[in-house]
């Protein structure tokens, strides 16, 4: 059975998971993976790209008037300062 490092997955997914839940997931996830692994029995190679899947582009024209949705969208932000969303520091000078 596939060994799954749930703690590492949780870090990748940016998800805090308690130790108790981790223990439960370490049993459940391999069971679910074992079930989906049935598809390995199908003798087919990599996906031929479906004809319905294609990039859909919009012409870069008729731009919206700048700012008309700013207030509506900012109203939803947990923390704001003027017309900006406040976040914790993202880039740091310090090297560790």
């Amino acid at each position: 059975m596939t060994k799954v490092d749930v703690r590492a997955l949780a870090e990748l997914a940016r998800l805090e998971v308690s130790d108790a839940e981790l223990a439960k997931l370490e049993k459940e996830i391999p069971d679910i993976l074992k079930f989906v692994e049935q598809i390995q029995q199908v003798g087919t190679k990599a996906a031929p790209s479906s004809p319905e899947l294609r990039n859909v582009m919009r012409a870069d024209e008729n731009p919206l008037e700048s700012g008309i949705y700013t207030e509506k969208l900012l109203e939803a932000a947990p923390k704001r300062k003027g017309d900006r969303i406040v976040v914790k520091q993202v880039v740091s000078r310090k090297k560790n």
Binding site: A10, R14, I32, V36, Q38, A47
Partner: protein
């Protein structure tokens, strides 16, 4: 007016004939909600005041002779569709207080028709689940037996229509989330062709699978709602172009993938399914076995593709732009703590599975392989539709189960979707129609009959659906 018998089509006639007003109709539903919803918990929020205002506007449209098919029709909306200014939570703690900044396209179209919005309905959190037990705000009950689930994830919408506390409802279907609850509640549930209804303003779960569709009492009503919400939308790049389409002439041939249908299905459910086929035969249909050898892989493929798309789609809920935000010393901890506190167990499970199947070293064996098998399933449908008008299967392998029965067994819950995920993977339209009941502990539980039609041919479902209802 007897709400238990009322349909959109009959209400339309009565409203236009001024037998009663849209306001009276809306008030009758609000009254029923007050009387019944404490028990059912189909609604997360009821919009009494605005519903009455919308009904008054609908009455003005009717009086002016400008009534449209859904003018004054009281609807319930699944909690994952945006209505400007209204809370849309997807039954999740992470969006508990989130107010929508704009209207979903389907909602905009309903507003243009003068429909009335009664409230937002309960669901499995972010539409992940088959019982509505994964709601962060408590489960919905099945109107046919309050100890049982209504199905899911659009369980609130299904219970609202079946319990006559909405005339019709919108749901969303990623792997069966409209059809399975419709089946368990004894009503009609339509999953439209992928791209037929705009997904703009529907909270995405599995973007290659999700579709908005109606839950109604009759197939005629399902068509009325479908006609109102379908159409191309520049805001959804996967929405299909509005090309004039030739209606398929119906040969009256139904295909049944026998080998697949017979595995793991409840004997009573199978009996109801066969009875419905017999009725169709009596109505002049030929029922033929079809070979669809890849259908047994549909559920495993779905539980790779869906979590993969979930894990990417739900990355947007990070506590920065909207929704819950847990304060922490670093931005990394803001993300992990917000998501840890905001998402429920099933959502977390799927995010982690999706992260695994997409991770370096595993994506070829899981995600890419699943995409390849998905193409084989799609090809099975294309081939089968050369000889038959539609494919029939049960909607769900079991009748509604007890609340709590499958809550601790994720795989058992996933198996509920074995027959319904096939249509989402192929992108084709499918409907669940009421097809009799099975007796369980002195209660009669409804069973659904599923019909699947070729890409963009909803009219086949409407035509055969009428014959199923009439049979």
């Amino acid at each position: 007016m007897d709400l238990s018998k009322l349909t959109i089509a009959s209400a339309r006639k009565s409203l236009d004939a001024k037998e009663y007003s849209a306001l009276e109709l809306t008030n009758a539903y609000l009254e029923n909600i007050r009387a019944k919803d404490k028990e059912l918990h189909a609604y997360l929020e009821v919009w009494t005041d605005s519903a009455r205002e919308e009904a008054k506007k609908a009455d003005a449209m009717i009086t002016a002779g400008r009534s449209l098919p859904l003018t004054g029709i009281p609807l319930a909306i699944k909690d994952n569709m945006l209505i400007e200014g209204r809370i849309a939570s997807s039954a999740s703690k992470i969006l508990e207080n989130y107010r929508a900044s704009y209207d979903a396209t389907a909602i905009k179209k309903l507003k243009e028709q003068g429909a009335v919005f009664l409230g937002r309905t309960n669901m499995d959190e972010f539409a992940m689940g088959s019982s509505t037990e994964n709601s962060a705000f408590g489960p919905t009950k099945n109107p046919h037996d309050l100890s049982r689930v209504p199905g899911g994830s659009s369980g609130g919408s299904a219970a609202a229509v079946a319990g006559s506390i909405a005339l019709a409802a919108l749901g969303s279907d990623t792997g069966g989330s409209i059809r399975q609850p419709a089946s368990h509640c004894g009503i009609v549930g339509l999953k439209t062709t992928y791209g037929a209804v705009s997904r703009f303003g529907l909270m995405p779960m599995g973007s290659s699978l999700d579709q908005i569709g109606p839950l109604t009492k009759t197939i005629e009503d399902a068509k009325m709602v479908f006609d109102a919400i379908a159409g191309h939308d520049a805001n959804d790049s996967t929405s299909l172009p509005d090309i004039p389409r030739v209606q398929k002439s119906i040969r009256k041939v139904i295909g049944v993938p026998r080998a697949f249908v017979q595995t793991g299905v409840d004997p009573d459910v199978l009996e109801r399914f066969n009875e419905t086929l017999d009725k169709l035969k009596a109505a002049g249909y030929e029922v033929r076995d079809v070979e669809m050898p890849n259908l047994p892989y549909a559920l495993p493929v779905y539980y790779i593709v869906c979590p993969a798309e979930v894990s990417t789609n739900l990355a947007r809920y990070d506590g920065i732009r909207y929704g819950l935000s847990i304060d922490a010393p670093t931005i990394g901890e803001v993300y992990t703590k917000t998501r840890g506190a905001g998402f429920g167990p099933e959502v977390r499970r799927r995010i982690l599975i999706g992260t695994f199947v997409l991770s370096s070293g595993y994506s070829d064996a899981y995600y890419r392989k699943a995409r390849a098998v998905r193409e084989l399933i799609r090809a099975d449908f294309t081939r089968a539709f050369e000889d038959v008008d539609a494919i029939a299967m049960p909607t769900s392998p079991n009748p509604a189960f007890k609340i709590g029965e499958k809550a601790n067994d994720p795989l058992a819950m996933y198996l509920e979707d074995i027959f319904s995920v096939t249509a989402n993977l192929a992108g084709v339209p499918a409907v669940s129609l009421p097809a009799g009941v099975v007796a369980r502990e002195g209660k009669e539980l409804p069973v659904g009959f599923q019909l699947i039609a070729p890409h963009r041919h909803e009219e086949v479902l409407f035509a055969i659906g009428k014959d199923v209802e009439g049979a």
